[in-house]
């Protein structure tokens, strides 16, 4: 089986993974904290989006090992992801209830 080339670069150690899991937990806690702060309501959505992207990226890059694996896997996954975001954005625009003149 030809999976030998898949661990070329550095491979996170178990303690590294625990640290990342800790960061994920902290980010989640921050997100929950943010939504209960009235004065942050106006910036809540952008903040949540950023933080969630952060969690998403950490899991994909480290737990799913995409950062260390072949770029081809990144293309396959990120391609689907970008297409999804694009189509979603277009759909939101089409269903937007802000009407133009």
């Amino acid at each position: 089986m030809s999976h030998a080339n898949e661990h070329d670069s550095s491979h996170p150690s178990p303690s590294r993974y625990v640290a990342i899991a800790g960061i994920l937990a902290v980010i989640t806690a921050i997100e929950v904290w943010i939504v209960y702060q009235d004065y942050l309501n106006d910036v809540m959505i952008p903040l949540l989006i950023l933080l969630s992207i952060g969690k998403f990226a950490l899991v994909v890059m480290y737990f799913m090992h995409l950062k260390f694996d072949s770029k081809l896997f990144s293309i396959l996954f990120v391609g689907g992801l970008l297409l999804t975001i694009g189509v979603l954005t277009a759909l939101f625009a089409l269903f937007s209830r802000v009407y133009f003149a």
């Binding site: 898949e6 993974y17 989640t28 737990f63 081809l72 396959l76 996954f77 189509v87």
Partner: protein, 211 residues
């Protein structure tokens, strides 16, 4: 005529050196983004459009859901520890971490089932309004994905006990792991765009009632 030459020396070579199955899994996950994306799009397009309640802010319990989100995140940690174990050849730790992942996943599912039954008792069903329809289908399909994942984890545990998951076969654990992490990142998105964004409305409703 002597047949002397062998066809080629490595029948399992791939053009890129990458494993077919790993490539398949990443392509599948890219495609599954479109699946969940369409369900999330439906939920968000219909957000706020229900003609009658109950509405999300009346039934959501953010602290409760935060705990289950945390549980699922930690299950990704145990999954990656399981993979690390078998890559080092430690079959015993593989099983321990796989079982831990399956347990955490099951706790998540149990939490979902409890939450769903609670919502139903509070008057939110598939039929009630757009919120009920879109919420249950989106989170239901996510839960179905988690359930399939738990089955795959338990299958790996069984296979390991039968001596079929050796160090050189760690790819099988890796593949299940990729699927499991994906299911986790979908929940990261759902937790934010479905639950967290309702917190201000929940607080406003509580204030209105004078809590």
């Amino acid at each position: 005529m002597e047949a002397t030459i062998a066809p080629e020396h490595d029948e399992h070579a791939t053009t890129t050196g990458l494993d077919h199955r790993k490539m398949l899994m990443w392509a599948f996950l890219g495609s599954d983004c479109m699946f969940f994306g369409s369900l999330i799009a439906t939920y968000l397009i219909y957000r706020g459009q229900s003609l009658r309640g109950p509405f999300p802010y009346e039934v959501f319990d953010i602290p409760y859901t935060s705990v289950s989100a945390f549980v699922l995140l930690m299950s990704s940690l145990t999954m990656v520890l399981a993979l690390g174990a078998i890559q080092r050849g430690d079959e015993r730790r593989l099983r321990i971490w796989l079982i831990a992942t399956a347990v955490l996943g099951s706790v998540f599912l149990g939490g979902q089932v409890y939450e769903f039954t609670l919502f139903v008792s509070e008057g939110v069903t598939l039929k009630t309004n757009l919120f009920g329809t879109t919420f249950f289908v989106l989170t239901g399909f996510h839960g179905a994905h988690v359930t399939v994942g738990v089955f795959m984890l338990l299958t790996l545990v069984g296979a390991s006990y039968a001596g079929k998951v050796k160090q050189h076969q760690s790819i099988n654990v890796e593949l299940v792991g990729l699927y499991w992490h994906f299911v986790d990142i979908v929940w990261i998105v759902i937790f934010t765009v479905v639950y967290l964004v309702e917190a201000p409305a929940i607080e406003a409703a509580k204030a209105a009632v004078g809590h």
